[in-house]
Homo-oligomer: 429 residues x 2
């Protein structure tokens, strides 16, 4: 008789509901690769009302009491899909202490308390996997941990938030304003009524914390990610970017510099020929630069019921293999280095400056003098007449340090008659 | 003292030479993930002349006699980078029988004798890994075997031959002729002096055989891959394609249809908005359609010393982990189904027909009548005056079966005054 591995499923919503579907649809394939049958034995629901609803959808024993799951000795693996910090943190901790393997997609929790949970899993010799926490349907974490285990990663750039990528695609391709794009995203269910986590780049920053662990073995904090959202991206920036050969994207970047790691989430101008420029709507992609492979990219859906559930069940399948071969307890990411943050003088980039100037001769000269003062120069510069009174000057710098950028920005803000409308990072060397 | 795992390296050329470099550069990271040190203990060279050359490049014990390696009890893993069928097949067989794990990038051998070698590895409870055999630096095989172990794959489309992708990019972007593009590829070392394997799609077909094993667990033969190369792609086809919104690419495709698998390698018209359309020059990409994840794509270099060596060493790292946890002998791809080939009446696609017609009224009508006779219709049609005497009509059909396509093609060839210049598959539903 084939052995059965039993799952306790915390949360039966959009993603959770996909888990039993995938397990059923791919039962034969999963059995071939693991040698076992995997079933959802119990599901945790919020209250009696949800229980009544889920009963009509799933043939799974349901409970409103977590004790029924964590104290059930027959349950081997717990899948946490409640989200946010509590009670997820307590539930996962209790599961690990009870010797149960855990699969979660909880990026908020992993970015803020990942280390504590990873240690707890190690102490109890159980597995803690979380492939679905970054870029839902893209198997990027397992790829970094396994296929790039022998590569020196130097940079990871990701479009890891589907909501903002959908909004920016609408702004670029259909000329929609930020407000129109947000309303459309909310209408389609891509954006929540309070879109803060998405549009302010917090969700993407959580993912960059996790990607930094896998890429460099370093544990940075959310506060270490320089973060800017897309609220201040105007349709003018989008159009100026297009004129200069760029598409605007919310990019998360984590780089290994000579003195440490630098992580950033910000709207960036991506050159149209860069593979990330082609990632549209709610799709995600992670672009990796490494010493061995060079450039590689992993593309797929960042969210959605079945894609995310597929990632989660892939983690379950790996745990089932580990149980069968008695090799559980190895950390998902075994790579560790002492965490070091790069200094402002080491962090480099190209920058876009959009400035409202008086419509008179000599404005670009004035700007050039500031650049020269801080040992910087233009890669591209464009002046457009706005009306008789004002002009708009847009300049893209050659690569400069963060320190240079801040000094130039501060000086531009002091110039009589100049109004700095926006600045943006520009991808590229 | 840290345990050492020893490698015998067969071939120290472009790729082989990258292996000791990667092992040295990433020694610390590899040690963290495996718990062991991995070193190249011996290298096999062709003759004394090569030995003299390699001695100046590597600090590795060199031999011209394979016995020195396969009979060395201290060697745990053999990396085969000789290529082609013999002596690679004999060397790998002997290694597996001697209880040594094997890593190879040999697509020719795996596509033609993979089954025999996989069985031999299983019988001897050793590992046989070959990630680098398909799309060099892209970890597509391990991703299919692990991260998509719980997904139902329905289609795999790949740009898996860098030489032809480089040539077609030059034809599309710079208007070069086939001959000019080939000469340039040869000059840059992307194409060999006899380019048959690349331009006739044989190399890509080998890779589709291997991808079919991983995607569907089915063992098809090279002859089962419908194959057409790029020799007959003209600059006119390239330009017509561009006018209609397509980029021409050599695409390998393997699909799971209702009655079995259908595999094809052919120059295809790829819609400009399809992710594969953006894959340029010598880069590779594999696009996967599956029931769970939906659409995903894996992009990277298809060849080159360090990218390929990184894939090879990633296999070595996995074997080292398996040795440490005593879990060797599990097949790289554990998924198997009885092999079934789809019938012509089940294989469907859209097709481009380019026809030289007399420059008179009614030519498109005549073509439309043929389409209608076989229950087919146009999606796009374009007539261009070539000179006073002839016109060129290009039609793209809606989706039709292979059987319909063949019948329409045969009938067009019979029409008085029509000359069928070319036909091409068109990607899309």
């Amino acid at each position: 008789m084939t052995k059965t591995i039993k799952i306790g499923l915390l949360g039966l919503g959009t993603v959770g509901g996909g888990v039993p579907k995938i397990l059923e649809a791919q039962a034969e394939k999963i059995k071939q690769s693991t040698g076992v049958e995997i079933v959802v034995a119990k599901g945790l629901v919020r209250d009696e009302a949800e229980k009544a609803l889920r009963k009509t959808q799933f043939e799974i024993e349901l409970t409103t009491n977590y004790d029924d799951i964590v104290e059930d000795e027959e349950i081997d693996i717990i899948i946490e899909l409640i989200g946010k910090l509590e009670p997820a943190r307590t539930f996962i901790s209790r599961a690990l202490k009870a010797g149960k393997h855990v699969v979660t997609a909880n990026k908020d929790l992993l970015a803020q308390h990942g280390l504590e949970l990873i240690e707890l899993a190690g102490k109890n010799k159980v597995d803690l996997y979380y492939e679905a926490s970054v870029a839902g349907g893209i198997p990027i974490l397992r790829t970094l941990a396994n296929s790039l285990a022998d590569d020196g990663i130097t940079k990871v750039q990701g479009i890891v938030n589907g909501t903002t990528n959908y909004m920016l695609t609408k702004m670029v391709e259909e000329g929609q304003s930020y407000e129109e794009a947000l309303a459309k995203a909310q209408e389609l269910g891509f954006a929540e009524s309070d879109p803060t986590n998405d549009v302010d780049g917090i969700d993407a920053a959580y993912k960059m914390v996790i990607l930094t662990q896998f890429a460099y073995g370093m544990n940075i904090q959310l506060e270490d990610v320089a973060r800017r959202g897309i609220r201040h991206v105007s349709i003018d920036d989008v159009k100026m970017g297009q004129k200069l050969g760029y598409v605007i994207k919310l990019v998360g970047e984590t780089s290994l510099l000579s003195d440490g790691v630098a992580a950033e989430v910000a709207p960036m101008l991506v050159p149209v020929q860069h593979p990330l420029a082609a990632i549209k709507n709610e799709m995600n992609a992670v672009f990796v630069e490494s010493m061995g492979i060079g450039e590689s990219m992993y593309y797929g859906p960042g969210a959605g019921s079945l894609p995310t559930a597929t990632s989660i069940v892939a983690d379950v399948v790996q745990i089932a293999k580990n149980i069968q071969s008695d090799t559980t307890g190895v950390p998902f990411n075994p790579y560790h280095l002492a965490t070091k943050l790069a200094k402002d003088t080491q962090i480099k980039g190209k920058y876009y400056f959009a400035i409202k100037t008086p419509d008179r001769k000599g404005q670009i000269l004035k700007l050039a003098e500031i650049f020269t003062k801080y040992d910087a120069s233009f890669e591209q510069v464009l002046q457009q007449k706005a009306n008789g009174e004002h002009a708009r000057v847009v300049a893209i710098s050659h690569t400069i340090t963060n320190a240079q950028f801040k000094a130039i920005k501060a000086e531009i803000e002091q110039v009589e008659g100049f109004k700095l409308i926006n600045t943006l990072r520009v991808l590229g060397k």
